[in-house]
């Protein structure tokens, strides 16, 4: 599937210089006298790099076979992270490049979004909030719930989160994965 420059729109996935890219911001630019352009801000789905580029109206781009699928995280075998499509039981193994920062939020049996390019995982997006168990933290201080102050807590997935002083080992916490901040006890 090829797209001409004037068909570009937000969220469209295209191939550029061999890499799949997603359109983030598309603006039609047409001086009253002069030719039309489509100015695009896009993100390279492999490198995450965001850049701007302008296309003439008659340029065309090849669509990228990219799709997002909800999958269940199964396990990590030391090399690959394994995911499964719940309905069909199809399994996919993603390497560390694809998983990236999402790794520290991945809990077994949680659902996350796997981006596939030509049926290979290239990116993992976890939900905005995850619930994780505290594996290790300094002992909690009773009666300290209202006061400020925080301490580091290591979660079962390996993530380290700043938590209030009253949090105990074994507590289940709700974390905002976008900021990495503690939200509440689950």
């Amino acid at each position: 599937m090829a797209y001409s420059a004037n068909q570009l729109k937000n969220g469209l996935k295209v191939m550029l210089e061999g890499d799949p890219c997603t359109m983030q911001d598309v603006e039609f630019v047409k001086p009253g006298k002069g030719q039309a352009f489509t100015r695009v801000k896009m993100r390279n789905l492999l490198t995450g790099r965001v850049w701007e580029r302008t296309f003439k109206a008659n340029e065309s781009l090849e669509g990228a076979d990219v799709m997002d699928r909800d999958m269940e995280y199964l396990y990590n075998d030391g090399e690959l992270y394994h995911f499964m499509v719940p309905v069909t039981f199809e399994q996919y193994g993603a390497d560390m490049t694809a998983v990236g920062d999402a790794a520290k939020w991945l809990k077994e049996n949680d659902t996350c979004m796997v981006t596939l390019w030509n049926d290979n995982p290239i990116a993992i997006t976890v939900g905005n909030f995850v619930e994780l168990e505290v594996m290790e933290t300094d002992p909690g201080m009773k009666g300290d719930t209202a006061q400020g102050g925080s301490k580091p807590a290591k979660m079962t997935t390996g993530a380290v989160v700043k938590v209030p002083l009253f949090i105990e080992q074994g507590d289940i916490l709700k974390i905002d994965t976008r900021s990495g901040d503690y939200v509440s006890r689950a």
């Binding site: 006298k33 002069g34 100015r39």
Partner: protein
């Protein structure tokens, strides 16, 4: 349920109507006559970068079609009226441009175009300023020549820079591929991609366009003697709002420019469409000395209402019509 609702709020459409009424009131006070010349014609605009919508006319539903064109501006028809001695006129109505869709574009849009007898580009800018400032809450509008704005914003002397230097400057800002020798193309890119966003803070008339971008404006000599087009554009908040000329009245030059456009169309593989030769005939009889300007009414309303998408000020966009 099908999406039947207009994208614009009823409140915005009421405000739009009030602005249209103000515009008509302005021209009534100025004793400029309203006309509603045809927007369906056997001829099409010659400009290679403006694409007309094609329409089939049939004498009978099963008869062979005659190809007609929806006008991209009422310019040709209005000039024929001017040559017929009608005096200063304005037209506010729909015009059509194929392929133009975006935040500031809809293929069907409302254009205000007017011509003032015995005005030049400088006098017409005052007129535009008076009208626009009666609708938008903006201060006095600055005047700056095309060459000066390039110097001020980019430090480029366009009269000294090679096309390669212009392309090089453009590549510092945005990646784009264009014919390396297309000087006006690079100038347009720098203007639309780099300079326009820098014009957000103050309304400005860019004046004295390069002679190569004169369209239907006559040429004049700039202060430094370089020939420039007697053409201006108005930018408010970095948005291109109006484009005006001290009009070309020379029929031979008009004929030459029509043919040059047709030639460019051929070179670029664009459709060859019937040129408006009746315009040349009208100029042969005599177009009175006049200046004319076209203003995007939808954009004016967008600026007045401080909205970000044209769909917020027109009842239905092309995709919803």
């Amino acid at each position: 349920m099908r999406d039947w609702k207009p994208a614009a709020s009823v409140e915005n459409l009421q405000k739009r109507a009030a602005i249209l009424a103000l515009i008509r009131q302005y021209f009534t006070e100025q004793q400029v006559l309203e006309v509603d010349a045809a927007v369906l014609s056997q001829c099409a605009v010659s400009d290679p970068f403006i694409d007309s919508l094609e329409v089939n006319f049939r004498g009978h539903p099963t008869a062979e079609a005659e190809l007609c064109y929806l006008q991209t501006s009422p310019e040709y028809a209005m000039k024929r009226l001017l040559a017929a001695g009608i005096g200063s006129i304005y037209q506010m109505g729909k015009v059509f441009r194929s392929g133009e869709e975006g935040r500031f574009h809809n293929p069907e849009f409302t254009m205000l175009e007017w011509y003032r007898l015995e005005f030049d580009d400088v006098a017409l800018m005052k007129d535009v300023e008076q009208l626009v400032r009666s609708i938008l809450a903006i201060g006095p509008i600055r005047r700056c020549t095309y060459a000066d704005i390039f110097m001020e914003k980019l430090g480029i002397d366009i009269n000294q820079s090679s096309t390669e230097q212009l392309a090089c400057e453009m590549h510092r800002h945005v990646e784009v591929e264009l014919d390396p020798d297309d000087r006006d193309g690079w100038l347009n890119l720098l203007m639309s991609h780099v300079i326009e966003p820098m014009l957000k803070d103050e309304p400005v008339f860019i004046t004295d366009y390069p002679a190569s971008q004169s369209a239907l404006a006559r040429l004049k000599a700039a202060a430094d003697g370089v020939p420039v087009a007697a053409r201006f554009e108005l930018f408010v908040e970095g948005i291109e709002l109006a484009n005006g000329y001290h009009e070309l009245t020379d029929p031979q030059e008009q004929q030459r420019r029509l043919e040059a456009d047709q030639h460019t169309r051929q070179t670029l593989g664009l459709p060859q469409r019937p040129l408006e030769q009746r315009l040349v005939s009208a100029l042969e009889v005599g177009l009175p000395d006049c200046a004319g300007v076209a203003l995007g009414v939808d954009r004016l309303v967008m600026l007045a209402l401080q909205v970000t998408h044209i769909e917020q000020v027109i009842p239905f966009t092309f995709r919803n019509a």
